[in-house]
Amino acid sequence: MPDLLTHVLFVYIVLQLAAWWTDWLTPGRIVVGMAGGTIPDVVKIKLLVPPNQVEAVLGLPFSWVPLHRLGGAVVTAVVLSLLVSARERRGAFVLLVAGLTTHLFIDAFLASPGPYTYDILYPLTHWKMSVLDYDLYLSSDYWPSLASGVVALTLLGITYRDRLRSRWFGSV
């Protein structure tokens, strides 16, 4: 994965642009989309609970990887949407899925040796999406977070320019 900040900011950029055309996308709902952008990285639970320790307990092969695949991430999104009030649940689910989908998509463009990426669509297929093998950036590169940060701050400034102007220069 690129760093989590890039993922979260990318979702913000997409949803903030969409919010210019629809009043439904309030800041509170945009934050839900940003949270969706973090969902696949729940897979980092493997650092706290290594899969081989779980295997030792269960006596069965075990992997956390599905949390970072479409099927597992969508299930996580359903779980999270069930923690939201019924009135907001459907919208929250759509926004969480939007966030996690952009995360998985951005990760497909990571530089990785070999003519393939990873099986994003699991459990539908283990096909490793070779058509997306563009090797655009390393997960440890600085520039994706810096570039998305600049774009996100620009959008933030444009969106809240009137509020910022009145706060800094007083009402005209």
Partner: protein, 156 residues
């Protein structure tokens, strides 16, 4: 009529969904245990000579350049990397794609190296992102202890 905010109903649904998660964790574990994988290479190396694979590990020697691939706790497959023109140090995390060759070596076709300092940056700003999301989440949403749900502030 049962409310869609009923905590018992939602708890039941969440338990079913976690069961679905568990099914996927076990299925994928089974998939990873299927050959080819580093454990298979270690046990029947000669069967895989000539095949091309992606493999990740830690540089454990620079002369000759050797990749240590941990395939089980405390068990490592050591692969001598051939034709890899890169400045790396012991301890660097490397992912290579190449063809397995005799004598536990790999003819490297492509590789990536993650500099340690960049990894520190990645983890730091990832934590920062998490703080932003949680902070904004609490700014725009509140927890309703009566129904055990999060409600958008201003929802009603």
């Amino acid at each position: 009529m049962v409310s869609r905010d009923d905590p018992r109903l939602r708890l039941l649904a969440i338990l079913l969904l976690l069961g679905l998660h568990l099914g996927m964790f076990l299925d994928y574990g089974q998939y990873l245990h299927g050959c080819p994988n580093p454990a298979c290479f270690a046990s029947d190396y000669d069967d895989y000579v000539g095949q091309s694979h992606r493999i990740g590990g830690t540089i454990i020697d620079t002369d000759p350049l050797t990749l240590g691939v941990e395939y089980a706790p405390g068990r490592t497959l050591d692969l001598t990397l051939l034709g890899m023109d890169a400045t790396v140090s012991e301890g660097d995390r490397v992912v290579v794609y190449g063809t397995l060759a005799p004598d536990r070596s790999m003819r490297v076709i492509d590789f990536i190296v993650h500099p340690a300092s960049n990894l520190r940056y990645m983890y730091s700003i990832s934590f920062f992102a998490l703080v932003i999301v949680v902070g904004l989440g609490l700014k725009f949403w509140r927890f309703d202890p009566d129904d055990l749900v999060f409600r958008r502030r201003g929802e009603y």
